[in-house]
């Protein structure tokens, strides 16, 4: 391999690295190519009757049963707080071992499976219980924390760590020399993850856990839009007011309250566990012929090949196409929206409105966004593209918008459009790309759950397998999804390293 040329000393402060431009351009070209391959037809219909009912519902929010709703709000928060705390601790542990390949692969594997699918798996073993809800959050979030913490630690100032005497113990050097220097970013990220945790916890209601999503989905599906709006606004209010209640000194009391609130008397039935692992997830030919029969293994091979040809291949293809388009869509959305919350562009008052808009956009579950767009455009890839792009774009916009708060401008910096195009956007472009690469995986995962649109993504087939109670097939397809995710992860890791993308912004204005 040819040696990587040394970067010129001042190249860190320049955004116009050709690598970044090439990367952006190629992502754009790939997305355009995918767009040509995708079904983007619009089937004009008469959605306005339904849309106006939705609109009316949003203007007249109703809370049908307050005690029930507040109980599910408490459950939503309890799952999120406990789930995120436990996975933050586990993730930190793994982050310190992240140079081990096996840790990286395991993290990529566990986070590649959507919370809903984890929950569906645990549902078979633990039923609709606290344990199912917690594990469905803890497992994928541990994988996410491990990766992000590890990369934050890598990017932080390594001086102290390198100056340690050689005999310093592994854990103490990690704790004192690495963790402490990166602490502010780590806390910032963990707070943001708590918001994601509340969203995930809410979405678990879609499959029957008693969180807010349970009511939101039921009301919305049945066309009770006022009631759905009531639940949605409650959820948005909780997220929007996070900076007032998710404070460090409240965390311990909140955690204790969560433990007290959740019913923990899960009946762990070993028969169910054994049945699931010893029977349900075995490929059906093996179940039929027994493990020791050659015939069974031969049949299993052809079972796998059929599944691969009929579902895995087409599922992966559609998933990748949708992901690549939605990735660029999210990027564009984020770049357009981030100024809304940036102090460099808007006054404090206007930014409140901007924040609220972004909170709303990222709090509406993709499934509901997709449904509304489906009403207007008819079934094709378009609803999925917009739903994923807006949702993820709003999240990235929030993250990079917050980063512009610490950018110091020169006195003679340009104003308005010029400031946006020539100064701020270039400065945040690298962290922006880094965030976008994180979302790559997320989008891949989420493209899985839009089955209502009839898109044959991997998630569509996994959902079908669960629906047909074929856990062997579900597991096979989940493994394929995981491999795809590990592939995407390693590509994004390589690109990140090669282009030195970091989530730390280029804060200082260039000295002359």
């Amino acid at each position: 391999m040819p040696p990587v040329p040394l970067l010129k000393p001042d190249s860190f402060s320049r955004f116009q690295s050709t690598g970044v431009q090439k990367l952006s351009l190629s992502l754009l070209l790939v997305a355009i190519a995918c767009l040509l391959l995708a079904d983007t037809s619009i089937n004009t219909s008469e959605p306005w009757q339904e849309i106006s009912r939705i609109g009316l519902g949003m203007l007249t929010p109703t809370i049908l049963s307050a005690p029930e709703l507040f109980s599910s709000l408490a459950t939503t928060l309890a799952f999120a707080l406990l789930g995120v705390s436990v996975s933050a601790l586990l993730g930190m542990l793994l982050a310190h071992l992240f140079e081990w390949r096996v840790v990286r692969v395991v993290s990529a594997f566990i986070r590649s499976i959507h919370e809903l699918f984890w929950a569906l798996l645990f549902l078979q073993v633990f039923g609709l219980s606290t344990l199912t809800g917690l594990l469905a959050i803890i497992i994928p979030y541990t994988g996410i924390f491990a990766k992000v913490y590890a990369e934050t630690l890598e990017e932080s100032d390594q001086t102290a760590y390198q100056l340690l005497p050689p005999q310093t113990g592994r854990w103490s050097s990690h704790l004192y020399a690495r963790l402490m220097t990166a602490l502010p970013q780590l806390i910032h990220y963990t707070q943001y993850r708590l918001e994601c945790g509340i969203r995930s916890s809410s979405v678990l209601g879609f499959i029957g856990l008693p969180t807010l999503g349970f009511h939101l989905e039921s009301y919305f599906k049945q066309g009770y839009y006022s009631e759905a709006a009531g639940v949605l606004y409650l959820f948005i209010a909780v997220v929007a007011l996070m900076r007032f209640w998710a404070k460090r000194r409240f965390i311990m009391p909140l955690l204790i309250m969560s433990i007290l609130w959740l019913p923990f008397q899960t009946v762990v039935n070993t028969d169910l566990i054994l049945r699931f692992f010893g029977h349900d997830i075995l490929p059906s030919p093996l179940r039929q012929y027994g493990l020791s029969s050659i015939e069974g293994w031969q049949q299993t091979l052809s079972w796998s090949i059929t599944l691969w040809n009929e579902q895995a291949l087409i599922g992966s293809w559609n998933t990748l196409i949708l992901t690549q388009i939605a990735l660029v869509g999210s990027g564009i959305t984020a770049l357009l929206l981030y100024p809304l919350i940036s102090p460099l562009f808007f006054t404090r008052k206007k930014r409140v409105a901007g924040h609220l808009f972004l909170v709303i956009l990222r709090s509406i579950p993709e499934l509901i966004l997709a449904f509304i767009i489906l009403l207007i455009t008819g079934p094709s890839m378009i609803p999925a593209i917009f739903a994923l792009s807006w949702h993820n774009g709003a999240i990235i916009a929030h993250l990079i918008g917050r980063y512009t708060e610490i950018i110091k401008l020169r006195v003679d910096s340009p104003k308005g459009g010029n400031l946006y195009v020539y100064e701020v956007t270039p400065r945040i472009y690298k962290p922006f790309l880094a965030f976008l690469f994180y979302r790559w995986e997320v989008i891949l995962r989420e493209s899985a759950i839009l089955g209502i649109l009839g898109l044959h993504t991997l998630g569509f087939f996994i959902d079908s397998a669960f629906e047909e109670l074929r856990f062997d097939r579900a597991l096979f397809l989940i493994l394929i999804t995981a491999l795809l995710n590990i592939l995407v992860d390693s590509i994004s890791r390589t690109i990140r390293h090669r282009l030195r993308l970091s989530t730390n912004p280029n804060v200082q204005s260039r000295e002359i």
């Binding site: 039923g127 029957g208 070993t270 054994l274 008819g378 047909e468």
Partner: protein, 296 residues
């Protein structure tokens, strides 16, 4: 032959662990466990609550034991709850009943609605398709957009798919421009009425009730074809209830269901009344599910 389950369960550690865990769980459960039932969420949840709330009260009075209805979110969770003995009785659709009874060997179908012996589905269309009601499926359906109900629904998916395949000699994926799964019958009607999908398949009972309640705008959406008859919904009970609630308990439950005469309960289903059912009544459903590849 090595039996995988056996290898695991013979481990002493697993057994000890199981005993400890079970004894822990027993503490929190009161000794008088209620008789629990559920139903597939095939339509508007508020209607389901109203319908099965009445059934629970009736059964409690008749059987003299505590009876509880638990709502579930999906067809699969209804089957899973039944399989895991979290519920002992369930109002299943044809397909979910077949799936459940395959997973719980001693379980039996005990009663079905009078109408469930001759159930049917409608294919409905948005008015912009300009399709009229016909005796046979029209070739004009090809390349339109189409939505089923839930993936696990008999009347919203299994039987319509079977007849579409039989007539057009190809799978719905190939036949239609796109195929969605709305999730339930009420949603299917809403999606076709709004024109988001041009065509849909729907349970005839849900359609008729929607029509009677004035929830359907027939200038926007109408029936273009109906399937031949097939057996559908039924009450299925676990085989081990007699051991827990006393000999003859399942017979008592069956009789109680057959004896429902209260029009208020029956209208909520809506069924004229209940008649005895047997597992063998649903053999055609099993065969169909196998033929379209939903069951191995």
């Amino acid at each position: 032959m090595i039996n995988f389950t056996h290898v695991f369960s013979s481990s002493r550690l697993a057994k000890t662990l199981a005993t400890i865990l079970m004894s822990v769980s027993i503490v929190s459960v009161s000794n008088a466990e209620p008789f629990v039932f559920t139903a597939i969420p095939d339509q508007d949840e508020t209607q389901l609550k109203q319908r099965f709330g009445k059934v629970a009260t009736y059964l409690e009075k008749t059987l003299k034991v505590e009876v509880k209805y638990v709502p579930v979110k999906s067809y699969t969770s209804a089957v899973t709850a039944f399989r895991n003995n979290q519920v002992q009785l369930a109002w299943f659709g044809g397909l979910s009943g077949v799936q459940a009874r395959r997973l719980v060997p001693d379980s039996t179908a005990i009663a079905q609605g009078v109408e469930d012996q001759f159930f049917k589905s409608y294919i409905i269309a948005n008015h912009t398709t300009q399709l009229q009601r016909q005796e046979t499926l029209s070739d004009q359906l090809a390349n339109m957009t189409f939505t089923f109900g839930s993936k696990g629904s008999t009347s919203g998916r299994l039987m319509p798919e079977f007849y579409l395949r039989e007539h057009f000699k190809q799978s719905p994926d190939k036949l239609f421009k796109s195929v969605g799964f709305s999730g339930d019958h009420s949603r299917t009607i809403a999606l076709v009425q709004s024109g988001a999908y041009q065509l849909g398949a729907v349970n005839y009972k849900v359609w008729d009730k929607g029509l009677a309640d004035g929830k359907i705008d027939t200038s926007k959406v109408s029936i273009i074809w109906e399937t031949p008859d097939y057996p559908d919904y039924q009450w299925t009970i676990r085989g081990d209830v007699d051991a827990k609630w006393g000999t003859g308990f399942s017979q008592q439950v069956k009789q109680a269901l057959l004896d429902i005469k209260d029009p208020e309960i029956l209208n909520a289903f809506p069924r004229e009344g209940f008649v005895p059912a047997a597992n063998s009544d649903y053999q055609p459903i099993l065969n169909t599910a196998k033929s379209i590849g939903i069951i191995d």
